[in-house]
């Protein structure tokens, strides 16, 4: 049994039933899932969560669908890794990486898709569809296969090769559209009116889909020993993830899983080549001006972010900041995280780390804060971004002499004993 009391327009407050609806019929504002928090509070406890599955579904009481057999590949409950070496580089104190590269298809999108398709199946949909910059495409195709649903995935024509392969391998339809992500998104928004029997996960079932991102906040709290962090840094594409991370912290307090009201500063990370939210933040603007994206961070290349306004609002309300970083800084961010913590992130992760570095240097993210950076996708998806940046350093003949020559003076063979623990 779920605890959903219905859907409600975020703008004008009109109420709707919990069906495949995503915008208010009247003002086109986004619909938001409404829960009966009193009933959730009476049910949800730390013990109940801890006895649940090691996935997002341990937080089912605060998800918009309940199903004993969800459409599930094991999304969520990814590692929260203490990052002391990266913290030292950035002059920070307690820093953690939420490593969502560890999800089944390599990105946080598995969280939202598992929720969306479970709800879509419950509503009777047989076909799963989406507009995607790649990560969502991977996840929708995989989860649809798992659920025995057909899938139709629409992507911009110029995506990274791995993202296309990782989508088409699951056997659904993959349609590359000549245009940007915003063009694909507009096409899907129009298609939703023509194909009402398809579940477009980020259009007509977006209301449910978006709720899946709250689990990033839920897990962070649980993994920190039921404490909220002081500051989180979240990448911004559509702004949905950041908005829902903020909602997740508030909900845990509302239902009594957190003892104290959390005060989490939330900062947003964007690529300079697509930074409508960071620009609005810097200009203290009241509206998000859409842009034409031009960045290597394709998973964040959304020029007209649906939840940009709400992300901006969440950032401002929390006392956080929003900044953007160049393509060169993104690549350095990827390399810095890999070299210090052994985590290989895609370009969006590079955006997060580079923005964290920038905000730390500016004193916005402080060394006395407990900081969590959301690293949301795996580096193998965007290897093109590193072409010419990294590679095998040298090729040698299989001889000791060639090896010694290649290593130079730094690591001359010593002939001495191995460390004690190796003997």
């Amino acid at each position: 049994m779920d605890f959903v009391s219905g859907l409600r327009c975020r703008e004008c407050g009109r109420a709707y039933p919990a069906e495949a609806l995503h915008v208010c019929d009247y003002c086109f504002g986004p619909l938001e899932v409404a829960y009966d928090y009193e009933r959730v509070a009476a049910t949800m406890t730390r013990e109940r969560i801890q006895s649940g599955p090691r996935s997002i579904w341990r937080y089912a009481d605060l998800l918009p669908v309940d199903d004993p057999n969800p459409v599930d590949l094991g999304a969520g409950f990814t590692p929260l890794i203490r990052a002391d070496r990266l913290a030292a580089e950035l002059g920070l104190g307690e820093l953690w990486i939420k490593d969502d590269t560890a999800n089944p298809t390599g990105s946080f999108k598995d969280r939202v898709v598992s929720v969306a398709l479970t709800k879509a199946r419950q509503l009777g949909f047989k076909i799963a569809a989406c507009a995607s910059t790649g990560n969502l495409a991977n996840s929708v195709a995989a989860h649809a296969a798992r659920a025995g649903m057909e899938s139709v995935v629409l992507i911009p024509h110029d995506l990274e090769k791995a993202k296309v392969t990782m989508t088409s391998v699951y056997g659904g339809r993959v349609i590359a559209v000549e245009g940007s992500y915003d063009d694909v998104n507009r096409l899907c928004a129009e298609l939703t009116s023509e194909q009402p029997s398809w579940a477009f996960v980020n259009v007509n079932v977006r209301t449910y889909y978006a709720e899946g991102s709250k689990t990033l906040a839920f897990e962070t709290v649980e993994q920190l020993g039921w404490q909220a962090p002081d500051h989180v840094v979240v990448p911004i594409g559509s702004g949905s993830q950041l908005t829902k991370v903020a909602k997740g912290f508030e909900e845990l307090w509302k239902v009594g899983v957190l003892d104290e009201e959390p005060s989490v500063r939330i900062s947003g990370a964007q690529a300079a080549g697509c930074s409508p939210v960071a620009t609005a933040f810097a200009e203290q603007a009241d509206a998000i001006r859409p842009v034409k994206p031009d960045t290597i961070a394709k998973s964040l290349a959304i020029g007209n972010p649906a939840d940009g306004w709400y992300a901006l609002e969440a950032i401002r309300r929390s006392g956080g900041a929003c900044a953007s970083v160049t393509d060169a800084e993104i690549i350095e961010g990827i390399r810095l995280l890999a070299r210090t913590e052994g985590i290989f992130a895609e370009t969006a992760g590079g955006v997060t780390i580079a923005t964290l570095a920038k905000l730390a240097a500016a004193g916005t993210v402080r060394s006395d804060e407990r900081v969590v950076a959301m690293v949301t996708g795996h580096g193998l998806k965007t290897v093109e971004a590193l072409a010419g940046e990294v590679g095998s350093t040298t090729t040698i003949a299989p001889t000791l002499a060639a090896f010694a020559a290649a290593m130079g003076d730094d690591h001359k063979p010593t002939g001495g004993p191995a460390p004690r623990s190796l003997r």
Binding site: E11, H22, V23, C24, D25, Y26, C27, F28, G29, P30, A131, G179, Y181, D182, D183, N185, R186, C188, A189, E190, T192, S193, E194, P196, F200, N202, V203, R206, G237, S238, G239, S240, Q241, A287, R289, P290, K292, I302, N304, P305, A306, D307, W309
Partner: protein, 91 residues
């Protein structure tokens, strides 16, 4: 000039269920005004108090967002298609 306007599901109650409507007009603003004339209620749904497009309403002329063009003053040519699309999608 005859323009085709594509209507999203959410607004088809105003057009008797029709997904496409032909109107006259030489700019986006004129076409949308004509749409409201033919099917009362559109203006209320599309425009805010100051007469601008509501925050969550996107309008496209020949697949380009009018916010990248001249907004409501964007010219429309005979036979072009104008799409009204809810902004909340994607990501």
């Amino acid at each position: 000039m005859s323009i085709t306007v594509r209507i999203p599901t959410q607004l088809r109650t105003l057009t008797g269920g029709s997904g496409e409507v032909s109107v006259e007009g030489s700019t986006v603003g004129e076409a949308l005004k004509a749409l409201d004339g033919a099917h009362a209620g559109f203006a209320d749904r599309l425009f805010d108090e100051s007469g601008e497009l509501r925050r969550f309403v996107n309008v496209f002329v020949a697949d380009e967002d009018v916010r990248f063009l001249d907004g409501l003053a964007t010219p429309v040519a005979e036979g072009q298609t104008l799409s009204i699309v809810p902004a909340v999608a994607g990501g």
